[in-house]
Point group: C2
Chain length 222, copies 2
Amino acid sequence: MTAPLMAVTVDLVILTVRSGELCVLLVRRGVPPFRGHLALPGGYVLPDEDLLAAAERELREETGLGDIHLEQLATYGHPGRDPRGRTVTVAHLALAPHAGAPTAGTDAAEAQWLPVAEAMAEDLAFDHDVILRDGVERARAKLEYSSLGAAFCPPEFTVGQLREVYEAVWGERLDPRNFHRKVTKTPGFLEETGATSNTEPGRPAKLYRRGPVEQLNPPITR
Amino acid sequence: MTAPLMAVTVDLVILTVRSGELCVLLVRRGVPPFRGHLALPGGYVLPDEDLLAAAERELREETGLGDIHLEQLATYGHPGRDPRGRTVTVAHLALAPHAGAPTAGTDAAEAQWLPVAEAMAEDLAFDHDVILRDGVERARAKLEYSSLGAAFCPPEFTVGQLREVYEAVWGERLDPRNFHRKVTKTPGFLEETGATSNTEPGRPAKLYRRGPVEQLNPPITR
DNA sequence: TAAATAGTGTCTCTAAGACACTATCAT
DNA sequence: ATGATAGTGTCTTAGAGACACTATTTA
């Protein structure tokens, strides 16, 4: 038996938090199929390129940023998902701090941040509605048992900023006092920088950076 | 730009519990590359076949059983992973009750259940050592927050059998009394059949079947 | 001053873990 | 009878959630 050959792509669900809302980076397609529709950024995997490397390349092309959390999400290969022919896409999930340029890209058509609620109401290209839904679900779950909430924050941040991330991703209000106690008492989650932030009214908040711990135990409950 | 084409396969990490040990189904390769090495069962995705359908087909071919829990695990596509040429494999995880035939298969070479500890010490074909490790890790995590432990059990089972599954997968002893209270008090996890099992010495145990709940909250802690 | 955010302390309730105790079988 | 497994109750402790209270800033 000879192996059937297929096109392999990577698609990216790049999430960030902008003014208290969870947003996803979408591009408008300038060529068929699905010309004019919004789509997740992505592209073909090169013949000698690793899957993660392909995703990193696309991420750099779209956001111009490196050092962003990137992980494989899932693979979608329904035979009819691309009218041009059999295409299997390995979707990845990226979590970017708001610092990430609101748009950028050289070859990408207009790239834009869209609140996920609006993005899910759009008629996205291919099966990108399913991929987006799965990516958001994964992000929501990850905040519970990993320290990845900090991946949405700049290198130094306050507990208040981190809480806003959690509230945006989960779409729920959290008690600021219990949240504070919880994250500061979890060893290895946050490291004090010694500095304080005082841009807001109110008592200046201590600045933290990400600690070494990846898995949170016990988890932050929703 | 024209799309580079690649071979796409599915590989299966099929786990079961046999006499208190977590075991994986492996086949011995009869053809190069890696002739004579043990490997995960798998094969090419057909031109018009969905990924999950391909995994289901391979699973039937290997175990002869349907109605087994099957989910996508991750996708592995390092450029050098198959010496025959660029091949991307979508790995799947299956959890089988011990009822599953110890071996079977028509075209598969000798298929055998091997304890995962031994399998991980073997020199598996391709990158199957990595895939196996990821599959076992996923299974261990899933037992905590999902009701999938029951996927290793026959349709009707006792709390004691379910506990043996947890102990085998996690490689830890659990307190029978606390475990019993935990699983029977979680609404929707187990449903009483009304019957009892009395094959063992000791007080007859109630028989249960899987309940409708998929996510366990709170989780069963390791 | 008031308003706003940061951070601590305290109470209640739930659930995990340890383990004594009872129940019902095989031998 | 003994030994084994099933199942319940009870105690202690950790942590979640609610929320009163203090601390430190801007306007």
